[in-house]
């Protein structure tokens, strides 16, 4: 056989490029920035912006949930950090929670965020040890958000006003 090294190089380059093409169609990046971010995530070189993350956390603890979410979205533009997505979902939960009723739209967005957090932790063992939170796992948060969106007769129970926000 002639040029074995050339053939091996060609096969490797073709397979790598084909993998990139399949990845682009599977992830559907909307901008060139998405492409570079996605490539960084795939290469394991992606990290959330720590300064923005801390700012968002302080906003969250002060009860400014919408501002905190926006800051977290900027800190994790690729939505590839499970912890950040967990906090975003928690911010949706706390903003949507009401003593008399829960905001279904915010709870729905919270569910999407917590699903992303769960998808990013295949082992499902995401535990956030924040003393300000009453739910420390993504599974608990998901169950609470789902419960909040369910329509049951217990919604009419007047004792519901005594429930605590978690």
């Amino acid at each position: 056989m002639r040029y074995p090294l050339l053939h091996a190089t060609g096969i490797t380059a073709t397979l790598l490029y084909a993998g990139f093409v399949v990845w682009v169609y599977a992830t559907q990046p909307r901008t060139l920035k998405d492409v570079t971010q996605g490539a960084r995530v795939a290469a394991g070189a992606y990290a959330v912006d720590a300064a923005r993350y801390d700012t968002a956390l302080s906003l969250f603890h002060r009860g400014l949930f919408r501002a905190a979410r926006e800051e977290w979205e900027r800190a994790d533009p690729a939505r590839a950090d499970a912890r950040t997505q967990f906090y975003i979902a928690y911010a949706f939960y706390r903003e949507g929670w009401g003593r008399l009723y829960h905001d279904d739209a915010l709870y729905g967005q919270g569910l999407q965020a917590v699903d992303r957090a769960l998808a990013l932790t295949p082992a499902g063992s995401l535990i956030v040890a924040d003393p300000d939170l009453k739910m420390h796992t993504a599974a608990e948060l998901k169950a609470e958000l789902e419960k909040g969106r369910e329509k049951t007769w217990s919604d009419l129970n007047p004792l519901r006003v005594l429930e605590e926000r978690k």
């Binding site: 053939h7 190089t9 096969i11 073709t14 093409v21 559907q28 909307r30």
Partner: protein
């Protein structure tokens, strides 16, 4: 490093061709929306059928001689490399069709029918590689002009009042079934570039991978000879 023509042909076949076809596969489904965001459309099933028909045409037209590309006379690496090139060619063909096929509505099916009909008829026509390439150029060129220049202009947002009137008449006559999504002008440029790359790739494909580059023009010339001239040529070659 020794730079001989055979090596250059091997580099083109093993490295350049698959990467070129994969670029076509990448860009063929790419659209730029009006808000300048990218949309990547995977090949619809009908384009895979068209690509299969086209692959059959490639073999019938001797643009690709499968027995020369794959077989026991090559080593494993060479066979794998050639197989990858042919697979890339198949997906590039599917995405080249995807690039000039309207995305939805009645026009999608009208264009698909036009392509399928042409490809099906071509299955029964005598072809040589040169005629096949010319026929494909015309087929893709016509579809490109129809989709990206005529329909694209009618569906473009804004524009002059004559364009808006033409668009309204077009929609009215078709009872709203000719649903053409508005895209940014960049989509047309990407499609043009994609089709150009595809045609360049097809020109670079050698029917026989190890064929010397200057054989093809000679063969083309030989096909123009009369039967008597061919016999004389063969006799001359045998005598040598």
């Amino acid at each position: 490093m020794k730079d001989d023509p055979a090596r250059r042909r091997a580099v083109a076949r093993v490295l350049l061709l698959p990467l070129l076809f994969l670029t076509v596969a990448l860009l063929g489904g790419m659209r730029v929306a009006v808000d300048r965001s990218f949309v990547f459309l995977p090949p619809p099933l009908v384009t895979l059928v068209m690509a299969a028909l086209l692959a059959s045409l490639f073999m019938r037209g001797r643009l690709v001689r499968l027995e020369a590309w794959l077989g026991s006379r090559h080593g494993v690496l060479t066979n794998v490399s050639h197989a990858l090139t042919l697979v890339a060619l198949f997906f590039a063909s599917a995405q080249a069709f995807n690039s000039v096929l309207p995305e939805q509505g009645l026009l999608h099916w009208m264009f698909a029918f036009f392509f399928l009909w042409t490809l099906w008829n071509d299955q029964f026509s005598p072809f040589d590689p040169f005629r096949l390439l010319r026929s494909l150029g015309v087929l893709f060129g016509t579809a490109f002009v129809l989709k990206h220049m005529i329909l694209g202009a009618l569906a473009a947002p804004g524009g002059s009042w004559t364009q808006r009137i033409a668009s309204a008449i077009f929609q009215g006559l078709s009872l709203g079934t000719l649903d053409v999504p508005a895209v940014a002008p960049a989509t047309g440029y990407i499609s043009f570039f994609t089709l150009a790359l595809y045609v360049i790739g097809l020109v670079l494909v050698a029917p026989t991978p190890d064929e010397p580059g200057d054989v093809r023009p000679l063969l083309r010339e030989a096909r123009l000879l009369t039967p008597g001239e061919r016999r004389a040529l063969l006799k001359e070659l045998e005598e040598e």
